[in-house]
């Protein structure tokens, strides 16, 4: 290959191109520049420099259905925000990375987004075991980490000053708000079936407490491993005199669970109260789900459009590409994760609000950004918060919203009860604002 050696002239040419490109990048946007150069770019940047938000997505692994919809919602929210003139006049750019719904990869994704992509913030993580693994790393790297996970881990005080959950209510608040209705309407003796990891333990601990406070009694606890694909063998653990079965499941096994429950109990059907988490992305018309007819399901944001939806709710539904039945407008069989994905949309609007209130320009302004979120107390309903009005606790970094109980009726969900925001609120056990930045 000696005949193809690079001449000095070619080398100069190449060098010239590189220098030109790096100069141009100051105007086009940061392509791949180190942090020193990056702050210099922002200092004198024109308003067109994009705000880059890292998006930790469960594209693969057991969270993939959620991940698909989180990504669609994120893209829709960013399109909406950019259409409104961006954040603080800057366009927004999402940098998505797949974490495989895996705690170990979740940590790597946080590192990659922070150190390689050099994003301004990271957001969007859902599965609680991934959040619990990755949030400490975000705290070490001192980068704001806004999760959409609904676990109690943020409000428990076990995370850190950089971790927030401003888009979706945590499990403790959900079950505290629901317990009185469940005990009153479904019976006092309740058996809980829940996934055998962090998210399930939040349900176990806080629902048990809340139900007992209402005069209910937990007849049995039945934890089920995430890897389980057959459930009949668990059912003998459910006491015969159980009034109601409280079920919350995740992963692909839920259809099997419902079907086997139906076969096992048949007509001696205890009352059922489930969490939509199990059935997100699943059509209620799916064969095997007939057994759920008449049973009750918790929803955070009703999947089926109701007659009295506000204009903001209607606009949001249309922007995320979901029809009145909660499925994609492109494909009626592609059912959304409607009770979770709004958290992605609302979190991006909270970021927008905090950046604009604090005048955030670059990572050296994290203190102002974080304190701006911590000062927030309430979000009013509207296009930025289509699910409804919310209260925010800056000490706990956690948001609180209204919850819904729906009944499965004619293979659809119909809202039968709404909680008040206050119903779910509990005495705070932590104060992140006391932690140093």
């Amino acid at each position: 290959m000696s005949g193809r050696r690079i001449t000095r002239r070619q080398a100069f040419k190449a060098a010239g191109v590189l220098v030109g490109a790096s100069a141009a990048s100051r105007f086009i946007g940061p392509l791949s520049i180190d942090s020193a150069l990056r702050s210099a770019v922002y200092a004198g940047a024109p308003s067109g420099t994009p705000l880059r938000i890292g998006f930790q997505v469960h594209r693969t692994g057991i969270g993939a259905t959620y991940g698909k919809w989180y990504e669609r919602t994120g893209a829709a929210a960013v399109a909406e925000i950019n259409g409104m003139g961006g954040i603080g006049g800057r366009p927004v750019e999402l940098v998505a990375e797949d974490d495989g719904t895996d705690p170990k990869r979740g940590v790597e994704v946080v590192e990659k987004l922070a150190q390689q992509h050099k994003v301004d913030f990271i957001f969007g993580t859902l599965f609680s075991h991934v959040v619990i693994a990755a949030a400490p790393r975000a705290g070490e790297l001192k980068i704001p980490y806004l999760v959409v996970s609904e676990g109690y881990h943020v409000a428990s005080g076990k995370m850190n000053r950089y971790t927030f959950q401003p888009g979706i209510t945590d499990v403790r608040a959900q079950v505290t708000a629901l317990a009185p209705w469940i005990v009153k309407n479904l019976g006092k003796k309740i058996t809980m079936v829940y996934p055998d990891y962090a998210f399930g333990y939040d349900h176990r601990d806080f629902f048990s407490k809340a139900a007992e406070k209402q005069g209910g009694k937990i007849a049995a606890l039945v934890p089920i491993s995430l890897a389980e694909s057959s459930f009949t063998k668990f059912f003998p653990k459910i006491p015969k005199d159980t009034d109601a079965i409280y079920h919350v499941m995740v992963g692909p096994g839920v259809l099997t669970f419902v079907k086997e429950l139906g076969e096992f109990f048949g007509k001696r059907k205890p009352k059922l109260f489930g969490f939509i988490d199990s059935l997100e992305g699943v059509d209620f018309g799916t064969p095997g789900l007939e057994y759920l007819e008449g049973s009750y399901i918790w929803e955070a944001f009703p999947r089926y459009a109701t007659g009295d939806d506000t204009q903001a709710k209607k606009t949001y539904r249309q922007k995320v590409g979901v029809d009145a039945n909660g499925a994609s407008t492109q494909d009626a069989k592609d059912v959304s994760t409607y009770s979770h994905m709004f958290g992605v949309w609302e979190t991006l609007f909270v970021i927008k609000d905090a950046v604009e209130k604090s005048g955030y320009k670059s990572p050296s302004d994290y203190k102002g950004f974080i304190e701006a979120i911590e000062r927030m107390e309430a979000f009013s309903a509207g296009l930025a918060h289509p699910q409804g009005p919310k209260r925010f606790n800056g000490k706990l970094h956690q948001v609180y919203a209204q919850q819904f109980v729906s009944q499965v009726s004619g293979k659809k969900l119909k809202v039968v009860y709404k909680t008040k925001i206050e119903d779910g609120m509990y005495a705070p056990e932590a104060d992140y604002t006391k932690q140093p930045l």
Binding site: T65, K233, F235, T256
Partner: protein, 289 residues
């Protein structure tokens, strides 16, 4: 107490149905190892291909028997291609093929994720009835699964013991070089064995899909259970595989129902560990010199 008898019946039923599915899946793994000396890490993915293809076929045609026919053929076709394009160029070297089949596992899994998507999709059972016991109801289809799996096991046994192909397979298993000297087309036998292994796994996948739904990650669990079974039964021993599958199925059923499901996994893993320590070749494994 009447409940105890109920629990025992439930445990036996669960053990029988899970045992028959595991037997079918693990038999393919054991067969491939026996004949080709290849540990096929991608074996569970053929099970998954079976289930996913069954969803496509039964959704398109509305016929479960069509799925039962087509899905194993599709899996067999994928296996033939993999054998020709990956395993043969590697000359079936044990270490190289382990790494190659790990690669196949991910390629198949991610390809299915891209094409089929991340959802778990249900297939309607061809026969749906519930058997009402005094204590509980049980899915009639699960018993049909056990019956069909038993038929497929029987067919495989006949194929191996009564046909020329089976004779060639057994000859190759015993001594590849001598078999080749006697005119056994070893390469073609390898291809046939690899495809048959995939067909068995896919058959199990089709049978299970009305119970469990088709999902792109479902192969991992099947692979794990198959490995447990072939270790206990003896890698390469078909009789050992079937016996071990029912043994592990029954242990799982009994311990799950009478004690707790996590304990069942612990007991099964312990059994594997004990076999590895005290009887490395498994219950029915061939003596290695």
């Amino acid at each position: 107490m009447s409940l105890d008898l109920g629990q025992l019946v439930l445990a036996l039923l669960e053990g029988l149905t899970s045992g028959s599915i595991i037997a079918l899946t693990a038999l393919g793994l054991s067969l491939v190892f026996g004949v080709m000396r290849i540990v096929n890490v991608a074996h569970g993915e053929f099970y998954m291909i079976g289930a996913v293809t069954a969803w496509y076929v039964s959704t398109a045609t509305g016929s479960f028997p069509a799925a039962l026919l087509v899905a194993p053929l599709v899996a067999g076709g994928v296996a033939l291609a993999a054998e020709r394009l990956v395993l043969r160029p590697l000359e079936y070297k044990p270490e190289a093929t382990i790494v190659a089949t790990i690669g196949m596992l991910y390629i198949i899994q991610q390809a299915v994720l891209s094409i089929y998507g991340p959802e778990a999709r249900a297939v309607v059972a061809p026969v749906a009835f519930t058997i009402e016991f005094p204590w509980f109801g049980y899915s009639g289809y699960k018993l049909v699964v056990a019956g069909l799996a038993a038929l497929l096991l029987l067919a495989t046994w006949l194929l191996i013991t009564k046909t020329t192909l089976g004779l060639y397979m057994r000859a190759t298993q015993q001594d590849r070089e001598i078999a080749q000297t006697f005119g056994v087309p070893v390469h073609r036998i390898y291809a046939a064995s690899f495809a048959l292994g995939a067909v068995l796994a896919a058959g199990a996948g089709v049978l299970i899909v009305p119970v469990q739904q088709a999902h792109y990650l479902m192969g991992l669990d099947a692979l794990l259970l198959s490995f447990m079974v072939v270790i206990v039964g003896g890698l390469g021993s078909l009789k050992g595989t079937v016996v071990a599958a029912f043994l592990i199925g029954l242990i799982d059923g009994l311990v799950s129902v009478l004690f707790s499901p996590p304990l069942a996994r612990i007991v099964a893993s312990l059994l594997v560990a004990l076999v590895l320590v005290f009887r490395t070749r498994g219950l029915f494994g061939e003596q290695t010199a």
